[in-house]
């Protein structure tokens, strides 16, 4: 009772090789930058694209096995799909949209409509039956799309950037609502997103896809705390360094040395948040043992703070107040010392 997929496909520049597993009732967030192959993976699972190689199995039924010549058509898969712009059929009413799947499977019109009406009620859309998709808000459209997909009781639900089409103001509310609806669904769910917050909130587990390969997976908190690639680190707002640890120190490929709070051995990731970085005009004195002379590359507003990108033996992102920028006279090309307390650094095996 679950999804086991081993996807392999070469298309243009993309070479996708990814193994995905989703348990019943579990929501897996597939996180990755544009062009990583996330949407392609969904199309493979939906059966819209054929696999080059590999295998897809859902609830013990083989959907794809190119080696054995198996390819189940999309309409026979019991896989539901909700995409970024929802793709509600524009010339049908909301009710007809939701009833579409049941009608396509041969259910008489009246029964299909009655069931669709029930789903709309469940989605808080009673009274919207006769509306056209164009008359709905983004959040309402998403719920209709969800009802349309779920009404046929799919065993696998695929959501492709389900919140990307919404404006920033409505996104949090719709996200929370989507999370609630997904919690009530007992099939497997795969949510594709490039937004880390979305992945963290919606996913029981996060799978990070980069250039067609899975680079990291785990519970959201784990991924957020211990990023394994620059991409993930940047997404979750952490500085990420890679080095070789020996006792309380770790040496970076550049030769720079980072002091650690705990013993560690072998290849490690070293992560610390930008707000933990202190900038000063001269080498700082005191408890911070990690201090590096750097050159400022960029300054950028980041919420109430200013994000400073500094290069040197240890490239660092630092978040400082605008006041500090003024006091220190920070500007691109200027020299500065960056320091981080060892206790602010988290170290984990690479």
């Amino acid at each position: 009772m679950s999804l086991h997929a081993d996807l392999a496909l070469r298309r243009g520049d993309l070479e996708l090789r990814a193994a995905l597993a989703v348990a019943p009732g579990e929501v897996v967030a597939l996180l990755g930058p544009n062009g990583a192959g996330k949407s392609t993976a969904l199309q493979l699972l939906a059966g819209i694209l054929p696999l080059d190689a590999g295998r897809v199995e859902l609830d013990g039924v083989t959907l794809d096995d190119p080696a054995a010549g198996v390819h189940v058509r999309p309409r026979d898969r019991r896989v539901g799909m909700v995409v970024q712009d929802y793709l509600l059929f524009p010339r049908m009413s909301v009710l007809e949209n939701v009833a579409f799947g049941l009608r396509s499977r041969g259910m008489p019109r009246d029964r299909a409509r009655a069931e669709a009406r029930e789903w709309l009620g469940r989605m808080g859309l009673a009274g919207y039956e006769r509306r056209r998709p164009g008359e709905l808000s983004g959040g309402q459209a998403q719920r209709v799309a969800l009802a349309r997909a779920l009404i046929v009781a799919p065993r696998l639900l695929l959501l492709d950037e389900p919140l990307a089409a919404l404006d920033a103001g409505t996104r949090p509310a719709v996200r929370a609502e989507l999370r609630r609806h997904l919690a009530g669904y007992d099939g497997c769910t795969l949510v594709v997103t490039h937004d880390p917050l979305e992945a963290m909130v919606l996913g029981d587990r996060v799978v990070v896809l980069e250039r067609g390969s899975v680079v990291q997976q785990g519970p959201p908190a784990e991924v957020a705390r211990r990023p394994r690639t620059d991409y993930v680190a940047r997404l979750v707002g952490l500085n990420l360094l890679t080095g070789t640890a020996s006792g309380r120190t770790a040496e970076l490929p550049t030769g720079a040395v980072v002091t650690l709070a705990h013993d560690a051995t072998g290849p490690v990731h070293i992560a610390f948040p930008p707000v933990a970085v202190t900038l000063s005009p001269r080498r700082p004195e005191g408890s911070a043992r990690n201090a590096w002379p750097l050159v400022i590359a960029d300054l950028e507003a980041h919420g109430d703070l200013v994000r400073v990108t500094a290069d040197g033996a240890v490239p660092v992102l630092a978040d400082v107040t605008p006041l500090a920028v003024a006091d220190l006279g920070l500007e691109p090309g200027g020299e500065v010392w960056a320091s981080v307390k060892a206790t602010e650094i988290s170290v984990y095996p690479a």
């Binding site: 939906a46 819209i48 309409r75 896989v79 799909m81 059929f89 010339r91 799947g101």
Partner: protein
Amino acid sequence: MNPTRRTEDLRVPAGLLIPAALGVAILVLPMAGLVVRAPWSDLPSILASDEVLTALRLSLVTATVATAAALACGVPIAWLLARTTLPGRSVLRGLVTVPLVLPPVVGGVALLMVFGRRGLVGGWLYDTFGISLPFTTEAVVLAQVFVAMPFLVVAVEGALRTADRRYDDVAATLGATSWTTFRRVTLPAVTPGVLAGAVLCWARALGEFGATVTFAGSFPGTTRTLPLEAYVAINSGDSDVAIVLSLLMIAVSVTILVGLRERWIGTA
């Protein structure tokens, strides 16, 4: 908002204005000529004459039937061209659109060679069923379909190509067969394109002359449509009737094109 700027924006270079005016004159003057030369006092009696009414009725019926036939066959052709990866697709597209550039008389000759009583298909039809197509109203429709269907195919194929194929994918994941998807999702999405194509097709069928006169002949009530009636009139020295018929065809075409354009295509 700024009147000075607007005036500058509206200044048209003479290099564009003069050829444009010339072009408009070439298009509009012949029609204006018809209006000027029209026998206005005799107009009602000519319009109400049996010949004209018979030809008008025949034209409207045949063009409409031809358009229906073109829709029934042309939309599937357009779908094949736009949505499949058949190996000979570009050849098929070429063949289907050839009548667009072919002189209609050539189309009529070709139809005669195939569907004539001694033609490839027509010979068999005649020998087996005693069916002979030339000189029948069916032949008029066939000739019109031949010359007009490509307009529909081209318009619908364009609409299908610009339509979002992901709707079809969604329908498939919802369990729809490709036929259900076509009927309930694809076709409604391209309705404006289909209508535009049908209007073009109808207008072309209404004006069809060369293939009709060659393949279907010319007999009042059976095969003599408005353009043929006009041709007969001018060849019989009856220029007044020819002018009235020409005006009538212009009026019908303009009404249909403008009316349908505003109402169906413009809003989509």
